[in-house]
Amino acid sequence: MSSAWQYYVATLIVYSFVYIIAAAGLNLQFGVAGVYNFAYIVFQAAGAYFTAVFSLGRPTSSGLQTYILGLHLPFPLPLLGSAVIAGLLGVGIGAVTIRRLRADYLAIAMLVISLIATNVVTDTTSLFNGATGISLVPQPFTSLTSSATGYDWIYAAYAGFVCALVLLALRVIIRSPLGRSLRAVRENEHAAAALGKNVAGLRLFVFGVGGAIAGVSGSILVSFTQAWAPSSWLYGETFVLFTALIVGGVGSNLGPILGALLVPVVLAEGSRYLPQFGSPTLVPSLEWIAIGVILIAFLWFRPHGVVPEPKRRFPQQGQRPAVTVPELSGLLDGSVVREEAR
C-alpha cells in the first residue's frame, strides 16, 4: 500500500473511532436515558478545545492565535483533563436545564445552547481565536516514531484503545441496575419517580458521563487533525450523530458502532467517490439531504434501528444470564444471538 493510501486508511480509522465514541456517549444520553441533548456536539468541541489549550503551551507574542490557559501538559493529561471539563460542563448545563424542563422543551433549550455556543466562540476572539479557531495543536506521540505513516497507525491504535475502554465502561453501565433505572426513566419518568428514582439526578448523571465521552472523542480528533475551528462543530453535526444512532439501533451496545460506521463514515466518505456533477457545493448539500431522508425513513419504517435494544432475559436458577436479540435472529440464519452477560 502506498503511503498516501496508508495515510487515507489510517485517517478513516481514526475518524471511525472518534464517531463511534461520540455515538456511544450519545447513546447513553438519548438511547438509554431518553434525554434529547441537541447540544451534544458542543461537548465534543469543548473536549477538543481544552485538549488544544492543555497541550499548546503559551500563546506566542506574535499574536498569531489567542486562547486561554496555554498549558503544556504531557500525554495523557490533556485527554483526561478535557474529559473532566466536558463532563463538568454537562453537569453544569444539565443542572440549569434538566430540573425545570420537560423532555421536549429540554431539546429546544439544548438546540439553542448549541447555536449560542457557536456564536459566542466565533465572536470571542480573545478566548477562542474567533472563527479562525486554533491550529498547530501538538501531536502526542511524535517521540515514538519518525515516520509519518507509522505515526498515523500508532494514533489509530491509540484511538481504538480508548474507544474500547469507553465501550466497555458503557456496557457495564447499560447492563447494570443503574442502566435499567435509566431505561425506566426513558420509558416513563413519572412512574420512575413514583418508585423512588431520582429522575433529575439520573439525567444529570448521563449529562455528565455523556459529556465526558463526547469530550474524549473531541480530544482524540483534535490531537490528530491538529486544528480546531467553530465551523466544524455546528449544530447539524449533532443530527448526524442522532441519525447514526437511530440507524444503528437506539439503546443497544452494537447500535452506535454500526450507526457510526454506516452514516458519518460510509455515507460521508462514499460521496467522495461520486463523479463531480452540478456545482461544487451540490454533492455536500445532497449529503445533508441524504442524512435527513435516512433519518426520517428509519423513524418511519424501523424506529428501533438495524440492531434493536436487546431484550434482557434472566436465567432460571442455575443457568447463566443471557442477552438475546430477537429481531436479529432472522438475519443470522435463524440462530439466536446469545451473549454471556458475565
Binding site: V172, S176, P177, L178, R313
Partner: protein
C-alpha cells in the same frame, strides 16, 4: 368536618392529611380536605367526575403541589418532599393509565422498583467485587415469587407494552409491592379491567392489606369499593362531604345528591 370519635384509632394513622387545598389559578380543585388511612386497612376515595379525587391522590403522592395543608406520613411531615423521596419512605402510587415501562420486560418492570439496589451506584458496578450481582439474583427470585402470586409468571420475558389491560394492572400492583410499600396509593385500579379479573384483583388487594400495608384507592366502581374498602371518603367539588362504610354512605342525602347532580 368533625371526626367521628369512635373511628379515631389510638395510634395516629399511617397517613394523615389535614386541610389539604389545591388551586389551579382561580379553580379550587381540592378545598380543605381532611382524611387518613391506616395500616392493614383499605380506604376509598369516591365521588363524581371532577370531584378532585385523582388530584388529591396526586398531591399525596407528591406529583402535584398542594397550595396549603399538611400531609403526615408515619409521624413525619412529607408535605414538601418530591415524589421520589416519598416513594423511598414507602408511599408507592400506581397510575390511572400508562404507568408501565413499555420497553422493559415484565420482570425488569418489577426489578426497577426494588429499593436500595447496590447496582444503582456507579462506584459499585465498577468495583471488581460485584457484590450487587448476588443481590440481583435474590431480587430476581423475589420478583418471580410476586409474578407467580399474581398469575404472571409465564409473562416475565414479555415487554410490558405487550400485556393486556388487566395484566398491566396486575403487573403494576406486583411492581408496587416490589418497592416494599407501607402505603399503596392506587388511582382507579379497576379501570380497563375485565369483570372476571375484577374479583381476582379485589382478593389480591385484601391479601395485601392483611399483610399490614395501608391502601388508599380512588375508584369509580362503587360495587368494588363496597367489596374491599373498610372506610370510604366521598368527595364532591373538592370537599369531603361524607365518611364511613359504603352501606352507611348510601343512606346519606348529601352523598346521593352529589352523585345525582354530578
Amino acid at each position: 368536618m368533625s371526626a367521628n370519635l369512635s373511628l379515631v384509632p389510638r395510634q395516629p394513622p399511617l397517613l394523615d392529611v389535614r386541610g389539604l387545598t389545591c388551586s389551579f389559578g382561580g379553580l379550587r380543585a381540592v378545598s380543605d380536605v381532611d382524611f387518613s388511612a391506616a395500616s392493614a386497612k383499605i380506604t376509598g376515595l369516591i365521588g363524581p367526575n371532577g370531584a378532585g379525587k385523582s388530584t388529591t391522590l396526586g398531591i399525596v403522592a407528591g406529583a402535584i403541589r398542594a397550595t396549603s395543608g399538611t400531609i403526615q406520613f408515619a409521624g413525619s411531615d412529607v408535605t414538601g418532599l418530591p415524589s421520589y423521596q416519598r416513594a423511598r419512605l414507602g408511599m408507592i402510587r400506581t397510575f390511572q393509565m400508562r404507568g408501565e415501562f413499555d420497553r422493559l420486560t415484565v420482570l425488569e418492570n418489577l426489578l426497577v422498583a426494588s429499593p436500595h439496589q447496590q447496582g444503582e451506584h456507579v462506584w459499585r458496578i465498577f468495583s471488581p467485587k460485584r457484590r450487587w450481582r448476588d443481590q440481583e439474583s435474590k431480587l430476581v427470585e423475589q420478583a418471580r415469587e410476586l409474578l407467580d402470586r399474581f398469575g404472571l409468571l409465564g409473562h416475565e420475558d414479555r415487554y410490558a407494552a405487550e400485556l393486556s389491560g388487566g395484566q398491566r394492572r396486575l403487573m403494576e400492583l406486583a411492581r408496587a409491592l416490589m418497592a416494599r410499600p407501607r402505603l399503596l396509593l392506587l388511582d382507579e385500579p379497576m379501570a380497563g379491567v375485565s369483570p372476571s379479573m375484577r374479583d381476582r384483583l379485589g382478593r389480591y388487594l385484601r391479601d395485601v392489606a392483611e399483610g399490614g400495608i395501608a391502601i388508599l384507592l380512588v375508584e369509580h366502581q362503587l360495587r368494588f369499593v363496597e367489596q374491599v374498602c373498610e372506610n370510604v371518603y366521598v368527595l364532591a367539588q373538592g370537599s369531603v362531604i361524607g365518611e364511613g362504610n359504603m352501606a352507611a354512605l348510601r343512606e346519606q342525602a348529601a352523598v346521593l345528591d352529589a352523585y345525582l347532580a354530578g
